[in-house]
């Protein structure tokens, strides 16, 4: 008896220690993530939960104030409900429309037509672009008078709205812009569509199902997991909307303008934190903390960088390599031509097309919506089009 029990009893012990070792190794592998989570997500998350009960302002104070911040947010802050309403309105409008657009687009691009690869590339391309460059582009496209959107509407006898200048049209304008870059979701749907077994369609066809029926009863159920995933991620990204309200405001000195119609929840939170230094307002919890604060930070940095790039142009972007102007020691350098050697191609092209362009200096700082200094005007006559 003993002889049989002995080894049997020893075996599970050995297995247990093996399992333990494997578990330890598993933990080792996830350790970097756990540390990262605690240091950069969990920790700040709990910290900002705590600070929402204090009057923390970064530098001078952090006293416990109980529920005062929450009371202020829900009952007194005039912008909290506005920003929440704007965000919800945007999400409710954007999620179904972009989902519908990307499913439709994916179905169209799933047809067997010659040159389909080129079409797929064309429709996917916009989602490669991101950030402020795209917003700038759309601000031009949506310009009420000269923007191409209203010009095209004009061909059909439709007087286009003021888009970003009309408070009723600002959010639809942004949704419109978002629908242009549905390529990312489209790609997911396309992959899912290609995974739908051909024989299901064949069987349905033999049974006499119309194309619409086949789509509704075969395609949609087969790709519904991808639709679910896409809707969830689009919802999340929809609630994170921030840059659009900051960059595309009608009055650059008033983020969220016109009439607070682009005052989104995250934008309001950002302004409270970094303009009023009210780091502890509950708006920051739970939407903020490390993750979204850092994404907010990077987005604003991105804005600044791109902003300064478009304003000044990096060296690489400059067309024509005239040597950097040596300002010293002449008091007033002749700017025409000389300056033009150092401005971005885009501006020079623009000058050729639209006439004189005032180039904002990097020092052209906007404080309270006012300019501080401008360095040069690019004139068409000095432009050499590349």
């Amino acid at each position: 008896m003993n002889a049989t029990i002995g080894p049997k009893a020893a075996k599970p012990r050995k297995r247990a220690s093996l399992e333990r070792r494997e578990a330890a190794q598993g933990f080792m592998f996830v350790l970097p993530w756990i540390i990262g989570f605690i240091a950069f997500t969990g920790g700040p998350l709990l910290f900002s939960l705590y600070t929402s009960f204090t009057n923390y302002d970064f530098t001078s104070k952090m006293d416990f104030v109980g529920l005062d911040n929450y009371k202020y947010m829900f009952t007194q802050d005039p912008l909290f409900w506005v920003s929440l309403k704007n965000t919800l309105f945007y999400v409710v409008l954007m999620v179904p429309l972009t989902t519908l657009a990307s499913v439709t687009l994916a179905s169209l691009l799933n047809q067997k037509v010659p040159g389909m690869r080129a079409f797929r590339t064309v429709y996917y391309l916009p989602s490669v672009l991101s950030g402020v460059g795209v917003y700038m582009l759309w601000m031009e496209l949506l310009s009420p008078d000269s923007g191409i959107v209203n010009v095209v509407l004009g061909w059909f006898g439709i007087t286009g709205p003021g888009w970003l200048f009309d408070p009723n049209w600002t959010k639809p304008a942004i949704v419109f812009m978002k629908m242009w870059s549905v390529g990312g979701g489209m790609l997911m749907y396309l992959a899912a569509l290609q995974g739908v077994p051909e024989q299901l369609y064949e069987a349905a066809e033999i049974d006499g199902a119309s194309p619409l029926r086949r789509f509704w009863h075969i395609t949609v159920p087969m790709i519904s997991p991808v639709i679910f995933f896409e809707v969830v991620t689009t919802l999340i990204s929809g609630f994170q909307i921030f840059q659009e309200g900051y960059v595309m405001a009608a009055d650059p000195g008033t983020p969220g303008s016109p009439l607070n119609s682009l005052m989104f929840y995250n934008l309001h939170m950002f302004l409270k934190a970094f303009q009023a230094f009210q780091m502890a307002t509950p708006q920051r919890w739970p939407g903020s903390c490390s993750q979204s604060s850092s994404s907010l930070r990077s987005s604003t940095c991105g804005y600044r960088n791109i902003g300064s790039t478009t304003k000044e142009g990096t060296d690489d972007e400059r067309c024509g390599d005239s040597p950097p102007g040596q300002l010293f020691p002449e008091p007033a350098p002749a700017r025409n031509g000389q300056e033009n050697g150092r401005v971005p191609c885009a501006l020079r092209r623009r000058a050729a097309v639209c006439g004189p362009v005032l180039v904002d200096d990097l020092d052209l700082a906007q404080i309270d919506g006012r300019d501080y200094a401008v360095s040069a005007v690019v004139f068409p006559e000095a432009v050499a089009l590349p």
């Binding site: 240091a39 005039p78 008033t254 302004l271 004189p356 404080i367």
Partner: protein, 445 residues
């Protein structure tokens, strides 16, 4: 044996990752990477005070026009003495201030920084800027500056910064356009009524009904806030609180709206969308006959228009005798709270705000400086716009933002915008704005 090795491996890896994390933390918490050679400096300074002190100076002047000037000023300062060495760090506009905030919170800020003049009080209250009272006491430095700028850098009557540069707005007009419609190019409009009459004469429409030239537009070529403050010479907000709903301001807002009513709000929005982006200047292109801009505008356009075609005039008055009020802002030099060498930093700030350095800045950049003596220096005044700006400072309102209402504009601006959009009347909107800002100040007290 294998087991022991594995345990050892596990422990080593854990220790390493923990070490990595800790060192990462201490790197961000302790020494700022921006410091570079600066990192070891504080200790050296503390142990041997005779040794040279290195100051880290942050500013947003990185362009090919401004950077050489500020670097020249700094190198002159470095050469003038052997105790202090100033290192210039360019930080992108706006980003530098957020970075400063993080650095102050971490206890390792730069030594001197260029900051926004009208929000000094906020940083003073929040312990982000160093109180300069003890340094200033010794040498009556406030006499150097235009009084409204000095007022802006004080909080509870103690200075927290030294004004560096400023700006002031006034009327620019196109003399050829004046001649074209039969107006005397040497007689710019003096009052609001005149401005309106002149503007109507200067408007030019093409046969298809689109504006080829607009005489003037209050919002797009000046701003409603400027005209509201011009009406009664009282800032929209100052240290005491908001002044939104004075009778003059109500009237002014109605007047501002009247431009939209006459020219068409939609047309003006479209006009703004094509030109208001600041990349394409309507005045230079001849699409706008009069505009309100700050003094540096002249330097930007004079190479592209005949200088003798550019007329300059003070802001028109609300009524004869009410004053040519204008608005301005600017930048100041501050020592972030917790900086290691305030004495040396102050010395450098004193140098930068002294007449010689300020004159150099004004002369080479055509920028309006905070020093009265430099702004009125004979050589600087040779430039007509610089002279005009120096004279205009007496009409320039600078409104320091009260620390209890740093984000007052987020509340008040949309209410005023509603009037311009025709959704509210001026009196009720300005009453609401006044109440909203007052309430904000009360809750932040």
């Amino acid at each position: 044996m294998i087991k022991a090795q594995k345990t050892l491996l596990v422990l080593t890896t854990m220790a390493l990752s923990a070490g990595l994390l800790l060192s990462a933390c201490s790197a961000t918490g302790g020494n700022k990477p921006a410091g570079g050679g600066n990192a070891s400096q504080p200790d050296a300074g503390a142990v041997k005070p005779k040794e040279k002190v290195t100051l880290d100076f942050w500013a947003h002047w990185g362009s090919t026009t401004r950077r050489p000037i500020i670097e020249k000023l700094i190198s002159d300062f470095n050469a003038s003495q052997d105790r202090i060495f100033v290192k210039y760090t360019f930080v992108p506009f706006g980003d530098g201030w957020t970075k400063e905030l993080a650095a102050v919170a971490a206890g390792n800020p730069p030594d001197v920084i260029i900051q926004d003049l009208v929000t000094v009080g906020q940083r003073a209250q929040k312990k982000q800027a160093t109180n300069l009272a003890q340094f200033v006491k010794k040498d009556n430095i406030q006499d150097r500056f235009f009084p409204q700028l000095w007022d802006a850098v004080t909080y509870n009557n103690e200075p927290y910064g030294l004004p560096f540069n400023t700006d002031t707005r006034f009327l620019f007009y196109s003399k050829p356009a004046f001649k074209e419609v039969g107006l005397d190019p040497e007689k710019p409009p003096k009052t609001w009524d005149e401005l309106q009459q002149y503007a109507q004469k200067l408007d030019k429409k093409s046969p298809d009904g689109k504006y080829q030239r607009i005489g003037y537009h209050a919002v797009n070529a000046g701003g409603w806030d400027l005209w509201l403050q011009n009406s009664d010479g009282k800032p929209l907000i100052d240290k005491e609180g908001p002044h939104y709903n004075t009778p003059q301001k109500v009237e002014a807002l109605n007047w501002v709206k009247s431009w939209d009513d006459r020219l068409g709000k939609k047309e003006m929005d479209a006009f703004k969308a094509t030109f208001g982006s600041k990349q394409n200047d309507p005045f230079v292109a001849g699409k706008l006959a009069m505009t309100v801009q700050n003094g540096t505008y002249y330097a930007q356009i004079k190479d592209f228009m005949k200088p003798e075609d550019i007329g300059m005039a003070p802001m028109p008055e609300f009524r004869p005798g009410t004053g040519n009020w204008s608005v301005g802002g600017g930048f100041d030099l501050e020592i972030p709270y917790g900086a290691k060498h305030p004495q040396e930093s102050y010395e450098f700030m004193k140098y930068l705000t002294d007449t010689a350095a300020q004159k150099y800045w004004a002369q080479y950049l055509f920028d309006n400086v905070a020093s009265k003596a430099a702004a009125n220096d004979a050589e600087v005044l040779k430039d007509p716009a610089m002279k005009f700006a120096a004279d205009n400072m007496k009409w320039t309102l600078v409104s320091p933002v009260p620390p209890s209402a740093p984000d007052y504009k987020n509340l008040a601006n949309p209410l005023v915008e509603a009037v311009l959009a025709g959704k509210d009347d001026a009196k009720s909107a300005l009453d609401k704005a006044q109440a909203a800002v007052e309430n904000l100040m009360k809750t932040n007290k």
